[in-house]
């Protein structure tokens, strides 16, 4: 399989992107479940949490769940970054540029999308 993957860029790309998606999914799943278990033993019922508050004083359960959501939210960013790199390596510059535009729009909308 390794020889086949290295000889076929499409299949190799797929294995790499799939690995990144699975890693993000499993990591966030573990954090979310751990947070839910911890939160069920906490007395205070926590409300909504902001991204900045995750790094401040919030109950451990909410914090674990919040980091799980953060990891989940970062996987789409990672997948587009990976596609840019993989397609550049394959000399498919047209699609690398397209994925690059998607990445720029994604980052710009996060940066410019200031809280209303």
């Amino acid at each position: 399989l390794a020889a086949r993957l290295s000889s076929d860029p499409s299949l190799r790309d797929r294995a790499i992107v799939q690995g990144a998606l699975r890693a993000g999914l499993f990591a966030s799943f573990a954090l979310l479940v751990a947070g839910m278990v911890v939160a069920s033993f906490e007395h205070a019922s926590a409300g909504p949490v902001s991204l900045a508050a995750l790094f401040g004083r919030v109950p451990l359960g909410s914090r674990l769940m919040g980091f799980g959501i953060l990891v989940l939210g970062l996987t789409p960013v990672v997948r587009v970054m990976l596609l840019v790199l993989l397609w550049v390596r394959e000399h498919d510059y047209r699609h690398a540029a397209i994925a690059g535009v998607v990445l720029v729009i994604l980052i710009a909308s996060v940066v410019l999308g200031h809280p209303a």
Binding site: G73, P76, A99
Partner: protein
């Protein structure tokens, strides 16, 4: 504590249902999550939308991990359409203030009804690839014609290519504008853009949509997260349920005939279209 666990089980159940449906037809599941949260749990619309965005990213990541590995999702096609949809979404957000939303919702609702009818009646017309066909194998992507090969429910290798790419891009752009103006999700618009506009097989369109919707949703999610609208105790059980549901949905989708999946999407389109028409008459149902 018992009440809390009871609530978490219901939320996870909603997640499983949304995940299965999302993975079957290429949508994020927001159309299930938002009304359930608003109507059953009395959650504010901003928290409901933030939770829905988390649900979309979870569906996209779980279903995407399977569809990318199986070769059903076409990543080049997905990224190409993503440019059109996101640019459309930004344009829609900017011009939303200039057009009456009630008029827009009515037009959009009628358009979705027509799309539903086309989806319901249409059928797949793709040849099974012959073994001699150059490059045709599962998971292969044609970088020139945005085509590829995937294995269908009978285990046959199907080769396809996206036809009429400019039409597909134009529909995706329009879908992006409308979703930006009306605040509706993109998945149920992207699948018809690929199937009807570009004549891509339904399963490839659904898998590709699943792969890309997470990218669109993530950008909005960070805005809601920064603003403090993410409620971990509500979002966590939904995300856990939806991840499991989406994995289950990919297994079902692999076995189901495309015609059945098309009909499921047609019904969803019809329901959302009716909701839009009602909205244009001032009747608000959830969102």
């Amino acid at each position: 504590m018992d009440a809390m666990i009871g609530r978490e089980v219901i939320l996870a159940g909603i997640g499983v249902a949304a995940g299965v449906l999302g993975a079957l037809v290429g949508i994020g599941g927001g159309i299930i999550v938002v009304p359930c949260l608003v109507l059953l749990f009395g959650v504010s619309i901003r928290v409901a939308v933030a939770t829905s965005l988390i649900a979309v990213v979870a569906t996209s990541t779980a279903a995407g991990s399977v569809y990318v590995g199986s070769g059903t999702a076409n990543m080049r096609l997905g990224m190409t359409l993503e440019v059109a949809t996101t640019l459309g979404g930004i344009t829609g957000g900017l011009i939303a203030a200039w057009i009456a939303p009630t008029v827009l919702a009515g037009v959009f609702g009628v358009m979705m009804g027509i799309t539903a009818a086309l989806m319901f009646r249409g059928r797949e017309g793709h040849a099974v690839a012959s073994s001699s066909e150059v490059g045709a194998r599962a998971g292969w992507e044609d970088s020139v014609h945005l085509g590829g090969g995937y294995v269908d429910e009978r285990g046959a290798l199907v080769a396809y290519r996206a036809e009429r790419v400019p039409i597909g891009l134009a529909i995706s752009l329009l879908a992006g504008v409308l979703s930006g103006m009306l605040g509706v999700g993109g998945g149920f618009l992207k699948v018809p853009a690929m199937v009807l506009g570009m004549r891509v097989p339904f399963k490839v369109a659904a898998a590709t949509s699943n792969f890309m919707i997470g990218v669109t949703a993530a950008s909005s999610l960070f805005v809601y997260f920064a603003r403090g609208d993410v409620h971990p105790a509500i979002a966590a059980p939904i995300a856990v349920g939806i991840s499991l549901g989406a994995l289950l949905g990919t297994m079902l989708a692999h076995r189901m005939a495309p015609a059945a999946l098309r009909r499921i999407l047609a019904i969803i389109l019809l329901l959302v279209g009716m909701q839009m028409v009602l909205k244009s008459f001032g009747v608000e149902l959830g969102r």
